[in-house]
Amino acid sequence: MAEAQNIPVGSTTAGQIAVAAESTVATRMSAPPSFDVQDFPVPHGREEEWRFTPLERLRGLHDGTAVAAGEGVKVAVEAPEGVTVEVVDRDDPRLGRAGTPVDRVAAQAYSAFEQAGVVTVPKETVLTEPIRIAVHGEGGVRYGHQVVELGAFAEAVVVIDHTGDAVLAANVEYVLGDGAKLTVVSVQDWDDKAVHVAQHSALVGRDASFKSVVVTFGGDVVRLHPRVSYAGPGAEAELFGLYFTDAGQHHEHRLLVDHNVPHCKSNVVYKGALQGESAHAVWIGDVLIEARAEGTDTYEMNRNLVLTDGARVDSVPNLEIETGEIVGAGHASATGRFDDEQLFYLMARGIPADEARRLVVRGFFAELVQQIAVPDIEERLLAKIETELEATV
């Protein structure tokens, strides 16, 4: 793998705004979305959607050799009163509504899971405590499926907390009724060896608000597909992400916001810090404004902060606009270095080196940490950032 000695050489930040009749988002994929794994060829690594991913480290999730094994990954749901928590069979009609798997691993997960979790917040129920879904790995392989559904005008915060060691491929669906408000915090706090590939699909109802905060720290390979589409006008989606990628880790976030309905909003902000040899972060941000989606307002941004030599970032925002009748559309991507000159400047004002680094990283992440709005997760995240930074010095 190419080693980044400095950003212009070692990392890429490629942006594209396409105005086209034919979607390049769709044509870039090697197969159209499908629930059946057989519809996807086994990737060899040169496909557009796989070219950044180290297939050899996926532990067989991509080629059918990873076999789900027993109780190796435990899922526990803790929900306040009024919430229905179910485990259902594959043929439950509530599965598969928010999105269709877009790559082989997501389709593999859909083809292989045995039972699915369904969490339902009835209409007009406003929760004051979060729903917590703990996914804890004890070395097993799991194909998972989870649905979170909010009825009309329901409001909820859901925390999905991934810990331990696992090889996990999963689909998570968020279905928001009209006027519902859902905040989802997905924490990837895996042990070093874990492999986690998942598609998170949200279907956002009329006038509903969806907020996703993805926090990725751990694991050997984490590759997530947060995706949003709309079921009615007046809806909005905010997709926030925060990753801290250490030596040897591969963190990949591939987003799609499909503006398939008029008068919806989306705002995407992902920020990552990287440190250590062969730390690799990939961010793909696709926003598609379909011809019928007049009045769309969208912005997406990715920022990366490289703390040491040897780390690599690939950041690709991609905005496709099929109608000119929109409120706004923009994207930005930038990768910066915490370099010796910044360190010198802060130290020349009396600030010790470790404190200087903390100041920069905390400042970098501050706006996103505030978005979490679940105090214990915020505290854990800040503590985690401190721990990661101590590893640098």
């Binding site: 902060l305 910066g336 010796d340 000159e341 910044q342 010198f344 400047y345 802060l346 130290m347 020349a348 004002r349 009396g350 600030i351 010790p352 080196a353 404190e355 100041l359 920069v360 990283v361 400042g363 970098f364 501050a366």
Partner: protein, 254 residues
């Protein structure tokens, strides 16, 4: 009384796979309350002197001593030097994305003063210092030096000088790139600090213009990596009229 003593300071830098000696034996003593102007042509090593005193890792000290009140400055890390009372106002202040000016100033003041300033008095202190430098209050919420104009960067440096109250302030070409109005505002800031009588000032400049606003007690001509002539304020007038030619022609050898 605080004293910075530089004795026979020799400094090299690595450039193009070669080691080049930039400072070739600098001798200078700066006492609290004094203002020394160091003037010299481009490439004479003035900025190297400033950055070497602050401890920039690019420069290697190969000989000589630097002490502040008898303490060995060269043994100290960059942050220790700042906490010991050295301050360098940089010619090219560095952008630090993600760190707000207010957070930066407070972290720095906490480090230099050894304890966190009391919040209420601190807010007032910063606000007043910014007003004196004609800085808009919104400045405090911007990221350090990010998108600052040349004049804003220099004012921000002098703001730090006023808040950190060092024993010895090194101003590296603080006047460069400033229009007359900005130069006046910045100079007034420096003078406020000088008037306390508690700071020794080392004013490094290429031009005599700033010396109309900040009157030096001593003027030194820097050429070829050392001080080649020292005198009073009248030496600046001579440089104003005659330029540096007398010092560069067949002057210090490479």
């Amino acid at each position: 009384m605080a004293t910075l003593e530089i004795r026979d300071l020799r400094v090299t830098v690595e450039a193009d796979n070669a080691t080049k000696e930039i400072l070739k034996g600098v001798d200078l003593t700066v006492k609290q309350g004094e203002t020394h102007a160091i003037m010299g042509p481009n490439g004479s090593g003035k900025s190297t002197l400033a950055y070497s005193l602050a401890g920039h890792p690019k420069y290697t000290i190969t000989g000589g001593t630097v002490t502040l009140d008898g303490e060995d400055v060269l043994e100290m890390s960059v942050d220790e030097r700042a906490r010991a009372g050295l301050f360098l106002a940089m010619q090219y202040p560095v952008e630090v994305p993600g760190v707000s000016v207010s957070n930066f100033l407070r972290t720095s003041a906490t480090a230099v003063r050894g304890e966190a300033p009391k919040l209420r008095t601190w807010v007032k202190e910063v606000k007043e210092a910014m007003e004196r430098l004609n800085m808009d209050p919104s400045f405090a919420e911007r990221n350090v030096n990010e998108g600052f104009s040349g004049g804003e960067k220099k004012r921000h440096e002098i703001l730090q000088l006023e808040l950190l109250k060092p024993k010895v302030a090194i101003l590296d070409e603080t006047d460069s790139g400033l229009d007359v109005d900005a130069l006046r505002v910045v100079s007034e800031g420096v003078n406020r600090v000088r008037e306390t009588g508690e700071v020794g000032t080392l004013l490094i400049t290429h031009y005599t213009r700033i010396l109309r606003y900040i009157k030096p007690d001593h003027v030194h001509v820097f050429a070829g990596g050392r001080i080649v002539e020292s005198g009073g304020a009248e030496l600046a007038d001579k440089l104003e009229n005659e330029g540096y030619e007398a010092y560069t022609k067949g002057g210090a050898s490479e």
